[in-house]
């Protein structure tokens, strides 16, 4: 393979290729260029192995407990919201499977109770931590809302999300924004919402965020230093991790 093409593949695998060059390479992939595919795949695997050079660092066990509690809560919520379950036709046949199922269920249940009790204690501890965290968030929000240095600005939904809206709490003393969005449309896979500072020139990127089950989202951002030309705010749908220039549809916007 020519060195120049190999270099493009190496840079692409490391995420270093400029957008146009990356698009050209992707076009070769789509066209079925087997040599490029092999080269990229080999470099991709090398890049994926890089973190294995680090010494593993076990996280605090609370991270796992919180994750699993969050997942359980989401599953329970989806079960609550789900329509009544209809028993499939093959299970409504004469109940010949019932005795076996009952025996298995009894055996499993006995063991499960002991395990589940321990799990519940962990979950409850985690929930207490989460409630404390939520209470802290509410207190901070209340402090912000009653602060004389905070201005409130409303963002309205664009044609891409007409039902959406948001309040922007602008702490002029700290130079910080807190954006509370509601009725956000569900995100496609691999996408996130990204906040933008609108200026006289190109928009300045800020953080990404995700809506919760109630389609609400909160993002806090520090105003970019040295920019006195902030003229508005916008929220767009972008690839996860965010981008440096808007590429997706704008769902919320306001001009000051």
């Amino acid at each position: 393979m020519p060195e120049e093409l190999q270099e493009l593949c190496a840079l692409y695998a490391l995420g270093l290729l400029e957008p146009q060059a990356a698009a050209d390479l992707e076009a070769r992939l789509r066209a079925g260029d087997a040599a490029v595919m092999r080269e990229l795949e080999a470099f991709r695997q090398v890049v994926e192995l890089l973190p294995y050079a680090l010494t593993p660092l076990p996280p605090d066990p609370a991270v796992r407990a919180q994750l699993m509690a969050r997942v359980r809560a989401a599953v329970q919520e989806s079960h609550t919201a789900a329509p009544p379950h209809r028993v499939p036709a093959h299970l409504r046949q004469p109940l010949i499977w019932l005795p076996t199922a009952a025996a298995v269920l009894f055996a499993v249940t006995a063991g499960w109770f002991a395990y589940d009790l321990r799990q519940q204690v962990t979950v409850l501890k985690t929930q207490v931590q989460q409630l404390r965290s939520v209470a802290g968030d509410h207190e901070r929000l209340l402090t912000l809302l009653t602060s004389p240095s905070v201005k409130v600005v409303t963002l309205t939904g664009t044609e891409h999300a007409p039902a959406a809206g948001a309040r922007l709490l602008w702490d002029t003393q700290r130079g910080a924004w807190t954006v509370l969005a509601h009725n956000l449309p569900a995100l496609p896979a691999g996408k996130a919402y990204q906040l933008w500072f609108l200026t006289a020139g190109t928009p300045v990127p800020s953080d990404t965020f995700y809506p919760d089950a109630q389609r609400r989202g909160i993002v806090q951002a520090q105003l970019p230093t040295g920019r006195a030309d902030i003229a508005g705010a916008a929220v767009s749908i972008e690839p996860e991790g965010g981008v440096s220039q808007p590429t997706g549809p704008i769902v919320l916007a306001v001009k000051f």
């Binding site: 270093l16 695997q45 994926e48 660092l57 997942v71 990127p205």
Partner: protein, 189 residues
Amino acid sequence: MESPGAALMQRIQAHDQQALGMLYDHLAPLLNALLFRILADRQEAEEVLGEAFWQVWKNATSYDPRRGPVEGWVIKIARNRALDRLRARRRREAHTARYEEEERLLAVGPLPPPEEVVLRGEQSRVVADALEALPKEQRLPIELAYYEGLSQTEIADRLAQPLGTIKTRVRLGLLRLRHALEPLLGERA
């Protein structure tokens, strides 16, 4: 050979919570090390770790095994989130660290407390040896791209080298790694 995460991912796609816990146990120490390496902040690293696995749970169906092993997919999610935070932090803070300090960090990396050091597996040792064997001028641009998410122009500025030189060094560095890691690449294919 199928990656250890592949079977777990199939179960996660079927909403198996226990499988998510197992995938977490399999990958969390590695990911936490990566996130700590990028963010240099223990608390932030663990926040991103939790968020990354939540995203794995929510977007499990978007994982496509044809695009690589599960481990790589999860690492990518976590790394992207960490780099997102790092960029946001850079926007807030003036980046005043001197190059010498960064070079020291890149050379050594943030060290975990001794009691948390876990013995490296064979795979980790091979990758670490391969990286250490790279000439510094090839290793630095690769690490700046991977751990700091810098663009090729930013790397050239940071290392005070022409852009063409950086591109060549990245190519040569990845080629050397590819050669050194060949036995592992076969295992992951």
